[in-house]
Amino acid sequence: MSVTKSKKSLHKRHDDLAQANKQLEILSGGIFADGELPTFAKKIKETNQFPLRPKKLEILQINVGYMCNQVCEHCHVDAGPDRKEIMTWETMEQCLEVIKNTGAHTLDLTGGAPEMNPHFRRFVEEASKAGIKDFIVRSNLTIIRANKKYYDLPDFFKKHNVHVVSSMPHWTRGKTDKQRGEGVFDLSIKALQELNERGYGMPDSDLRLDLVYNPNGAYLPSDQAGMEKDFKKALMEDFGIQFHNLFAITNLPIARFLDYLIASENYEDYMYQLVDAYNPAAVANVMCTNTISISWDGWLYDCDFNQMLDLKVNSKVKHISDYNEDLLNDRDIIISQHCYGCTAGAGSSCQGTVA
């Protein structure tokens, strides 16, 4: 069902769903309150996986701000040009201290469009000195072509050996533009070609280029491997583009995607799909078990989704200024019904399938 699209974030529109507590109310109400569907807590209790606890910390994910050049319909961040939440240099310095001392092997910068943070480059330069094994930047591709000042990003990424992970909803123009906005497909193709030219995504290259696929509506992704084959074939044949891996990621019922589900009357059916596809084997590897998510203002969360729902970590250490990895790792993870999005089918995390 098509719903009216807006070029403004829910925040800018002062929509009720911009508030985390409203979203949490919806996720705990209705079909979950009247017992038609089991809550996530109840479900993971069946296999004695409650409370959910972290394993070894592997990934530090830092959200450097909610500003973005795009306003994708499915965005769980509710990002857009009108979002002003941007990480300050002061907070970045606190993050750098943590990065220098962390046991995590992966640093994952996200947003919004992280490149729009005015301190982005300085931060990448400093962070790349810390000797982190895998340094990911989640780039939406169009930012690279959005403005002249970003044209050199592929060279900048290469210089700092950044691992680029980019969203590409489909290999067809129509599906891509429908989800992410008019013209996004062509700009993304151009950006991918630029990255390929620098060696990104080439078969034997160390310059990693992975793509993220989110379904373009109220259905789940299936068959990550099959989808990767299709993407590779189509992008190669049509545009000569190469990349390494495709991650198929389930859309979680949060922020704009939740808004879309409700407006298109797909919410209940989608939650049924998620619960039906629940895979207990995926629980052990959900993202929050090896990740800490840091918000633009330095608060700590179990994952980027909990960040958007303002569910801060259940620990004495709640802010980057008090960061203590051992204390932090000894915590129960906060869950709600959106978590079903991480355990559907083969599971889903920012690294794609988990089971």
Partner: protein
């Protein structure tokens, strides 16, 4: 009893048919699951065949389920519509080819 013969919510109850005849129901779902596994045909090819047959059978539940299944597999609208045309072509061809029966009969009966 609902007011409609078909209710989308009934699709979710499909699994429950096993409750009233466990052995047969279980055998059916085992068979069904096996059929759609990756084999000499890919799971995706099977999903497209299922979509075409869902239309020739005009089963709303199957159309609902296999449209979603195809979307999940990244099948495009164009591919789905082409599959349905295959079903429609066979369906109309099957109707029309029986015209030869009619012709045979007419030829036999007419002087």
């Amino acid at each position: 009893m609902a007011n409609n013969y078909y209710d989308p919510a009934d699709l979710r109850k499909f699994g429950k048919i096993t409750e009233w005849s466990e052995e047969l129901g279980t055998k059916f779902f085992d068979y069904y699951g096996k059929v759609f596994e990756e084999g000499a045909l890919t799971a995706r090819e099977k999903a497209l065949i299922a979509l075409a047959v869902a239309h020739t059978e005009q089963c709303p539940y199957c159309i609902d389920a296999y449209t979603k299944d195809n979307l999940q597999r990244g099948v495009t609208k164009k591919q789905m519509m082409e599959a349905i045309h295959v079903g429609a072509a066979i369906k109309s061809g099957a109707t029309l080819v029986h015209g030869t029966m009619m012709m045979n009969k007419v030829n036999k009966l007419e002087m």
